[in-house]
């Protein structure tokens, strides 16, 4: 027994020594931790997967890239043209591009790739494409079954990173798990699901988009992406050198990071909104005056200042401000006005009694306020609770896991909820307010003939992007006029890195952290 104790002590010392060695810097390598929203990806197959992470964007290139201002930039497509009637698109492709396995990228690749989507959950991305014609080796034409002004947006999504067709066909179900082949600046090296992904540099890379300064191969030789499930833990990893870059730092952590001398942060414009849907079928919210009053009770600026330390922006409508469809009539936007809120509640018959809660016909103004677990939303929800208490509405919070809360929505047991979405396109309005999706995602339970008409026009009758913009704006304005939700906050996407280890370009181009940024990253010598 004494012997056993001694060996344990000895191996303990060895472990401590190993711990010291592991923290020593290694050349031209970076370790990146995913944000909490992109954990749990089980495949790097962009065609069939429903959950892709940031590493996918390093393995594959896309035809088109989207910048933070929502403009589109050429990548593997050098130029494109949309027919006047919107029924065909022609793309010119970049010359000299090869896949990691040496096969060339050309028009035939695109023609073979689009049909891969048939029967997958991502099929809707290419649903409007009737057929693909190879015009010449570097020209490809999409024949459309209907105009799709949103095509460039779809093409720039991570799901439309282009895989090498030979490998894709050869590997079958293992594609994306044991291997993946793209044209991107990094090659797939190893993937341990739920743990880490290792990518190595593609030395031949010479076809970067104009979103990155470096047009050649990446400076980093090797990138390790780690899954750290808890954001607090990820923060500690960053602080202690376990990771070099942390994607998606919750905004309420930024203040903590400021105190760390070796850590720098970059804020990218966010791609979503935090908001509070209101169930219009549930009393007292079947009364539009009560709905409007709740909106007026929320002090968005105070939320930005207190919880988020001034980072990010107040949200006053449903869309992120870089989208043109968000530029609605200012009179329809939702802003703080507690006096009007109280007046509206008085009008609706909810009057202040002896206590702090309003009453109507002997019933107190008490409502349910749901949210999802995760510190981000629970903090926001508690502030919302306090703010609506100030106009005499008492809210009881319940925190659910994401599956249960969707069930509550579908069973119509909810009233108010604090949540967020991440989507930089106006068609999110259809997703959350279409009468065909009552319960979830239409948490507001709103089904209105005029709304459905405007939805249909915006979704299917737009011939080009200008028309689409006008139609979605009209739909958005009508939704705002019905007080179906309260906009709360426009988060930023925050990236933190250890500046003693790496440099990261600031500002970050593009809508998400992808190859354009990693190409410009360097290791601090």
């Amino acid at each position: 027994m004494r012997y056993a104790t001694k060996t344990m002590l000895l191996s303990g010392t060895a472990l401590i020594a190993a711990g010291f060695l592991a923290t020593a810097a290694l050349a031209q390598e970076a370790t990146i931790a995913f944000s909490s929203g992109e954990l749990g990806a089980t495949s790097y197959n962009p065609v069939t997967s429903s959950n892709l992470n940031s590493a996918t964007g390093l393995i594959y290139d896309r035809l088109v890239e989207q910048d933070a201002d929502q403009s589109y930039h050429p990548h593997l497509a050098t130029s494109w043209e949309e027919a006047d009637d919107g029924l065909s698109w022609t793309f010119k492709l970049k010359d000299g591009v090869t896949f990691h396995d040496g096969t060339p990228f050309n028009a035939q690749t695109v023609a073979d790739w689009i049909p891969d989507f048939t029967g997958t959950e991502n099929e809707y991305l290419v649903a409007a494409i009737a057929s693909v014609e190879v015009v010449d080796d570097l020209t490809v034409k999409f024949v459309m079954s209907r105009p799709e002004p949103n095509l460039l947006y779809n093409l720039s999504s991570a799901f439309m990173g282009i895989p090498g067709q030979a490998a894709y066909d050869a590997m079958g179900d293992d594609y994306g798990v044991t291997g993946a082949v793209g044209t991107g600046p990094f090659k797939f090296d190893s993937f341990a699901i739920g743990l880490e992904t290792v990518l190595v540099r593609n030395d031949d890379y010479a076809w970067a988009s104009d979103l990155s300064e470096n047009q050649g191969a990446a400076h980093l030789e090797r990138v390790t992406f780690r899954e750290v499930p808890d954001q607090s833990t990820a923060f500690l990893e960053l602080k202690t050198g376990g990771i070099d870059v942390l994607l998606g730092v919750p905004t309420d952590f930024l203040e903590i990071l400021k105190a760390e001398s070796n850590i720098a942060t970059i804020q990218m414009p966010g791609t979503g909104i935090n908001y509070m849907p209101i169930n219009v079928t549930s009393a007292p919210f079947d009364d539009i005056k009560v709905r409007e009053a709740v909106g007026l009770a929320i002090d968005q600026d105070a939320i930005v200042a207190s919880i988020y330390n001034g980072v990010g922006a107040a949200a006053h409508n449903f869309l992120i401000s870089s989208l043109p469809e968000s530029q609605v009539d200012p009179a329809l936007e939702v802003s703080y006005d507690p006096e009007r809120a109280k007046a509206l509640l008085d009008e609706a018959g909810w009057v202040m009694g002896d206590g702090a809660v309003r009453m109507k016909d002997g019933v107190p103004l008490s409502v349910k306020l749901f949210t999802q677990n995760g510190t981000e939303f629970t903090a926001l929800t508690q502030v919302v609770q306090a703010q609506i208490a100030a106009i005499g509405m008492q809210a009881d919070i319940t925190v659910f896991d994401s599956s249960t809360i969707r069930d509550e929505y579908k069973e119509n047991r909810h009233q108010l909820a604090v949540r967020g979405y991440d989507w930089n396109n106006a068609d999110i309005l259809d997703w959350f307010f279409s009468g065909e999706r009552l319960g979830y995602p239409n948490i507001s339970m709103w089904n209105d003939p005029e709304g459905q008409r405007l939805n249909l026009v915006a979704m299917t009758e737009s011939k080009n992007s200008a028309e689409r913009e006008a139609n979605f704006k009209a739909y958005h304005e009508y939704i705002l006029s019905q007080h179906l939700f309260v906009p709360l906050y426009q988060p930023t996407t925050n990236i933190a890195y250890n500046k003693d280890r790496v440099t990261v370009p600031d500002p970050i181009r593009g809508t998400r952290f992808r190859s354009q940024t990693v190409l410009d990253m360097t290791v601090v010598e």
Binding site: D230, G374, T375, T381, T404
Partner: protein
């Protein structure tokens, strides 16, 4: 029904106030017991003791370090940590105690029936009960809360189920042991009915060890409640519980460690006190052997 309450009263009488007094006999028992009484009073009189409203937010004064007027500092929302720890005692103690009481009630019934009737019934009950005992309490609780939704009620049920096995086993062991003892044999020979034997003779004799173990389990219940709270599944905000206060995560340890340290200390000290006092009680009642028999 009246016979049931009568039996319950006799059980408690059998448990005896004198043994409680004896547990206070040692200095360890006095310290632990004194602390628990103080804690109980704090929980009961929380509204009068707490210096602030536990839910009052003061966003501009968030994460303030311990000092004046916030003796233990404030949390992210500027709420007074001391007041929340005081109210948290209420939540944590009542949830755990109620849950264990339910568990003891059901466990004793099941265990007594299994021990008394034996045979297939006993085997079936014990197989099920052993199985729940073999699964980690946190897993049972997590799954249970996932099914019936988060909140204090489901936390209570989850804790009750997690500890059910312990009380069932213990009661059964007591009954089986007592059944072999001569005075019961004598009673049976005298022609007493089974129900009478079980209620009048077996249960009252089995009750003391179960209640003591139940008291010890209140400590474990507090830990389980804290763990569920840590996962965000216990008390719903803004209701404070010691576990829920610690759920803000590791990063909070740096920004404002007091938000996490104080509720943790409260849990640790309380559970240690419960265990020490329980040990003294076992010693005073001289039932150590009977508890181990399970």
């Amino acid at each position: 029904m009246t016979s049931m309450t009568g039996t319950a009263a006799r059980m408690l009488a059998g448990f005896g106030t004198t043994s409680l007094g004896r547990a206070f006999g040692t200095w360890l028992g006095r310290i632990a017991g004194g602390f628990l009484i103080l804690l109980l009073l704090t929980a009961i009189f929380a509204p009068w003791i707490a210096p602030f409203d536990y839910a009052a937010q003061d966003l501009l004064n968030g994460n303030a370090p311990p000092g004046w007027p916030h003796l233990l500092g404030t949390d992210q929302f500027g709420r007074d940590v001391l007041s929340r720890v005081i109210y948290g005692a209420r939540t944590s103690l009542s949830v755990s105690a109620t849950a264990i009481a339910m568990s003891v009630g059901v466990g004793m019934t099941l265990g007594a029936a299994a021990g008394y009737f034996g045979g297939f019934f006993e085997r079936a009950v014990m197989t099920v009960v052993d199985l729940t005992w073999s699964f980690p309490d946190i897993l049972i609780a997590l799954i249970f809360v996932a099914i019936i939704g988060p909140g204090l009620t489901s936390t209570m049920f989850a804790i009750a189920i997690a500890y059910l096995a312990q009380f069932t086993r213990l009661t059964r062991a007591q009954i089986v042991r007592l059944k072999r003892e001569t005075f019961i044999e004598a009673t049976i020979n005298l022609g007493a009915r089974p129900r009478h034997i079980l209620l009048k003779h077996l249960l009252p004799n089995a009750v003391a060890p179960v209640i003591v173990v139940g008291m010890l389990a209140i400590g474990d219940g507090i830990v389980l409640e804290a763990t569920l709270g840590f996962f965000g599944l216990g008390a719903q905000p803004p209701t404070p519980s010691w576990g829920a206060m610690m759920s803000s995560g590791t990063a909070q340890l740096f920004l404002s460690p007091w938000v996490i340290i104080f509720p943790g200390v409260a849990v640790a000290v309380t559970v240690v006190a419960v265990n020490l006092f329980g040990d003294e009680l076992i010693r005073a009642l001289d039932i150590r052997d009977r508890i181990r028999g399970a």
